[in-house]
């Protein structure tokens, strides 16, 4: 039975009212008195040597406050990388400097060369055009394999090559994997491209820097998923501002999908320039600018081999992946193709031997970093595509082959170093077969064929590791930060509650879902609880929102802080009720002496805490506010099974998604409405990757898909209604809520389902096409069908 409040209720989102009435407060809505505007002059070439930058004429232009170049940032830190990967030979990755403004060289189209601060944006742009640049274009490297060849132009002259690292995982397994593949009854090999994507949150990035001479304090308003992380990185590594003199605020943020995790040059610049100019400095990205300055996603080229024995049991997996880093290491880039990808290569299957090799490569392109799913979609795509291809080669049912190899006992330690705590892959597959009406497929296929179309069915599974994650573990893996989270529960005298959380909502509905948990624990109305997030000056600490971690990690901190509140409140109640603390129960907003009708209301306890006239002052302090930090002991492991049905027009190659169904296991669910919405959005992004989206560079490093005119965003008529189900629930065993995280599942599970379905459709038309690289545009599908 659905509840109407608390955990499990589909509470309507309270944040919606401001968003729906135009009262949201996004960063670009912030204007500070006297602010100046910055325009970044960006490189038109992918690779070039800066011979000179002459700003003298530009500086004389109307409205110009000051022009900055790389020279102004000498002695200032570069943008740091937050994760160090160690290679197969025990050596640290190659880690180039990443200056705020280019120094000496430009390394990708969009690399900022100079920044003009002026009274208006138009004046800043006018002046930027008057800057005289002498940049000698150098040969660019775009293709990863070419970039690794002897004699290839180097993106960074001070590195030995364009290879960031050559990572092997688990290196000790390599020989055994090679042997198993050599001796296998059958090996299915697939070479594929995981296409480069641009995250494209609808709100472009914005930064507003402000500085107070009165107290030497800097404030940055920014479109960020993790304001504390920005405070730490920018303060400690770039600008040398101590945390207590630096406030970072992320107000309403219009979507992130990973690309607003990272610390960007423009944020550091606006903070720096506000102090230098003694004026607030604002930057708002245009969409065109976003395409060449937001970190991109994916961009892997992979060869995967799946070995099977004579009974079709998976015996080994070997992969070789080239992962594009772009021109610099974005904040968490090195972790994506390694620890967020290699550790997922077991998927849902009992494969005893796995070896993953990843070569991360520098190229003259925009840096690549985490985008919705980050590494896990890449892993799932390879695995679920190769399993599908194996089923086709072996002439067995793809679902049966999967079921045969499912992990069935938990906890399960994979050969790629993670331990799944819970899951039930049979249950989600059963549920999928039901909700997707697989039984009705053949009839639907016949109907399609009658209208001259080919119909295909694609099914796959996924597992993800999220709720990222244990600090001691990620520390061993090279993370330069802890990945716990924090929450403060501040109970006010009248019983209302402010919960300060380190997670940041940029569409996920924290303002609604988090209070549901606290309300449930205290038995009070959700409306009495308000979430405070996104402001480093109001919140003790936080690591932000990404990797489906908000509820699993920060929510757990909130639970722990609320438990502390309950403990203290019970003490107060026991005093007020003159009963033993052990006998006090919390229920329906009251503290009751067990087995009696004696009770005291929540509000009376909270009032007593702040007006301690009748209060156990000898035992406890007045006030009611608690903080907890939570560091989980493991990742969480959501899983599921997805199904896509497509119709294909053989005359044009055009694919339409006719049906899409998802059966997910997210463990416990706090707000099913929000969870379903997260899955819907993820599925659309996965469909986007599979059919539409592609970030393309030409061979000189010019970005060709740089606007919505060429980068195909999914629109309402590209997708159907989805059937989503999350009734299979195996709760996480190691966090107090039993939640697993749902933000990325859709984007992880859907691309292989779509591609599997298209291949199935083509096969049904009698063409033996076994693979087409994403996006499966009409042109590509048609061309594949002509061979």
């Amino acid at each position: 039975m659905p509840k109407d409040s608390g955990i499990g209720a589909a509470s309507k989102r309270r944040e919606d009212v401001r968003f729906l009435t135009g009262a949201g407060n996004y960063t670009d809505d912030i204007n500070i008195y006297g602010q100046a505007y910055v325009y970044f002059l960006r490189s038109d070439v992918a690779h070039g040597k800066i011979n000179s930058i002459d700003t003298s004429a530009a500086a004389e232009m109307p409205g110009v406050v000051r022009i900055f170049t790389g020279a102004d940032f000498e002695g200032v830190g570069g943008l740091p990388c937050g994760w160090q990967v160690t290679d197969r030979h025990g050596q640290p990755m190659q880690e180039p400097a990443h200056p705020v403004l280019a120094q000496g060289k430009v390394r990708h189209v969009g690399d900022p060369i100079a920044a003009v601060v002026a009274d208006s944006l138009q004046e800043a742009r006018d002046a930027a055009e008057a800057i005289e640049l002498d940049i000698e274009e150098l040969p660019a490297v775009v293709n990863m394999k070419a970039a690794l060849q002897e004699g290839a132009p180097k993106v960074h002259d001070d590195l030995t090559s364009n290879l960031c690292y050559d990572w092997g995982f688990v290196e000790d397994n390599k020989a055994a994997v090679d042997e198993a593949i050599k001796n296998a009854a059958h090996v299915t090999t697939l070479e594929l491209v995981n296409n480069r994507l641009v995250a494209n949150p609808m709100e472009p990035r914005v930064a507003v820097g402000d500085y107070s001479r009165a107290n030497d304090e800097s404030t940055l308003y920014t479109t960020s998923q993790n304001p504390h992380v920005i405070r730490l990185l920018m303060g400690a590594f770039v600008l040398g501002i101590p945390e207590h003199k630096l406030r970072v605020v992320a107000p309403d943020v219009g979507g992130g999908f990973g690309t607003k995790i990272f610390h960007y040059a423009e944020e550091a610049f606006c903070t720096f320039a506000a102090k230098k100019c003694n004026r607030p400095v604002k930057w708002t990205a245009s969409r065109s600018e976003a395409f060449m300055s937001d970190a991109h996603g994916r961009d892997h080229v992979t060869k995967i081999e799946l070995a099977l024995d004579a009974d079709n049991n998976f015996t080994a997996i070997r992969t070789e992946t080239y992962a594009n880093m772009g021109a610099y290491l974005s904040t968490f880039a090195p972790s994506v193709p390694t620890w967020l990808h290699g550790t997922l290569m077991a998927g849902n299957y009992r494969t005893p031997l796995i070896y993953v090799n990843v070569k991360a490569v520098f190229t003259n392109t925009v840096p690549v970093d985490a985008y919705r799913g980050a590494g896990r979609p890449e892993a799932t795509y390879q695995l679920e595509r190769v399993v599908d291809k194996a089923a086709r080669e072996l002439g067995v049912d793809p679902i049966a082959l999967r079921r045969q190899n499912f992990i069935s006992e938990f906890p399960y330690a994979t050969p790629v170093a993670v331990e799944y705590d819970t899951g039930n892959y049979f249950a989600t597959m059963d549920k999928l077969e039901e909700v997707a009406d697989l039984a009705g497929f053949e009839a639907r296929r016949k109907a399609s064929e009658a209208s001259g179309k080919l119909r295909g069915l694609g099914v796959n599974c996924y597992i993800e590791a999220c709720g990222i994650a244990p600090s001691n573990l990620v520390g061993q893996l090279g993370a330069r930060a802890g990945l716990y989270d924090a929450a403060t529960v501040r109970v006010n005298a009248t019983g209302t509650i402010s919960v300060m959380v380190g997670a940041h909502s940029h569409g996920q509905g924290h303002e609604t879902a988090f209070p549901q948990v606290v309300a449930d624990m205290l038995g009070i109305d959700e409306s009495m609880i308000e979430i405070v997030h996104g402001d480093s000056s109001k919140i003790p600490f936080g690591m932000g929102t990404y990797g489906s971690r908000s509820l699993a990690v920060c929510g757990s901190a909130m639970v722990k802080a609320t438990e502390k509140i309950i403990k203290k409140a019970k003490k107060i109640a026991s005093h007020l009720l003159e009963a033993s603390e052990a006998d006090i129960e919390v229920k329906d907003g009251k503290f009751t002496v067990a087995g009696t009708d004696k009770s005291v209301a929540w509000g009376d306890v909270t009032l007593a805490a702040y007006v301690p006239h009748n209060y156990p002052l000898e035992d406890i302090e007045p006030g009611l506010e608690e903080t907890a930090f939570y560091d989980p002991s493991n990742f969480t492991y959501p899983s599921g099974a997805y199904c896509c049905e497509v119709e294909l027009d053989p005359d044009t190659g055009k694919v339409t998604i006719e049906r899409f169904a998802a059966a997910d296991d997210f463990g416990n669910v706090v707000n099913p409405m929000i969870v379903e919405g997260q899955v819907h959005g993820g599925i659309a992004q996965g469909i986007g990757q599979a059919l539409l989206e592609n970030c393309v560079y030409d061979d000189e490093g010019q970005l060709l898909s740089a606007s919505y005119m060429d980068y195909a965003m999914p629109r309402a008529d590209d997708v159907p209604f989805y059937v989503v189900d999350h009734s299979c629930q195996t709760p996480c065993t190691h966090n107090p809520l039993g939640v697993k995280g749902c933000g990325e599942a859709g984007a992880i599970g859907s691309p292989p389902a779509v591609v599997n379905a298209v291949i199935d459709a083509i096969q049904s038309g009698g063409k033996n096409v076994l693979h087409i690289d994403m996006p499966l545009s009409p042109q590509r599908v048609w061309a594949a069908m002509q061979d």
């Binding site: 138009q122 742009r125 006018d126 055009e129 245009s286 065109s288 005359d651 044009t652 190659g653 055009k654 059919l691 539409l692 592609n694 393309v696 060709l704 898909s705 919505y708 005119m709 060429d710 980068y711 195909a712 965003m713 545009s777 009409p778 042109q779 048609w782 061309a783």
Partner: protein
Amino acid sequence: MYAFDFEQPKTIAEAVAALADDEAQPLSGGQTLIPTLKQRLAMPSKLVSLTAIPEMKGVCMNGNTLCIGGATPHAVVAAEASAYPALAALASNIGDPAVRNRGTIGGSIANNDPAACYPSAALASGATIVTNSREIAADDYFQGLFQTALEEGEIVTEVRFPVPQAANYQKFVQPASRFALVGVFVAKYADGVRVAVTGASNDGVFRWTEAEAALSANFSPSALDGLSVSADGMIGDLHGTPEYRAHLIGVMTKRAVAAAS
């Protein structure tokens, strides 16, 4: 955007006078021009808006000819060109609803984007392009990629479409921009069939004369069997090779004929 002045004349004569200034640029619906200006890809001294000129607006029939004022938005054509259903349908699928409320037929025809819809209708219909100073046959008007017979400062005040016996427009959209990757407009008149193709060629909209001959003899999809367009000179970009576009011309033409007949 660079700085520029803005004028909104009320008559064609005033507009022509305003456009006589150096670097003055006519602004119709602005759905292409304004994004271009935002990118600073043009630097006009002045924009002369053509959207407040009553004599350039509206849809009417004159005998068997549908006349559309140059400043008539697509949405109005979609709603009011019922005498020429294929044209109304084309107008109702240009861009999106908000674009259709601003974008105009005159702006589209004057710009002659090689992937725009209207040029194919005008060419396939043998339309007459009326300007402030003359009348130009569509066959003479479209002169290649973004090129027309218009002189500097000359504005499209009206487009006149002879209404065909049957017609249809089939657009295969480019997945990102939703412009035509290939669009084919087929119009059947008493004296023959005209077929115009947009989106496909490096030279902009063009007539597929072989198809016209075949369809004039036999207006059915099967008349196109065996006919194909050469990929030479077709656009090749991220979304389609020249070969793919050439292939789509055949597919879309057949579909247009099937839908029209």
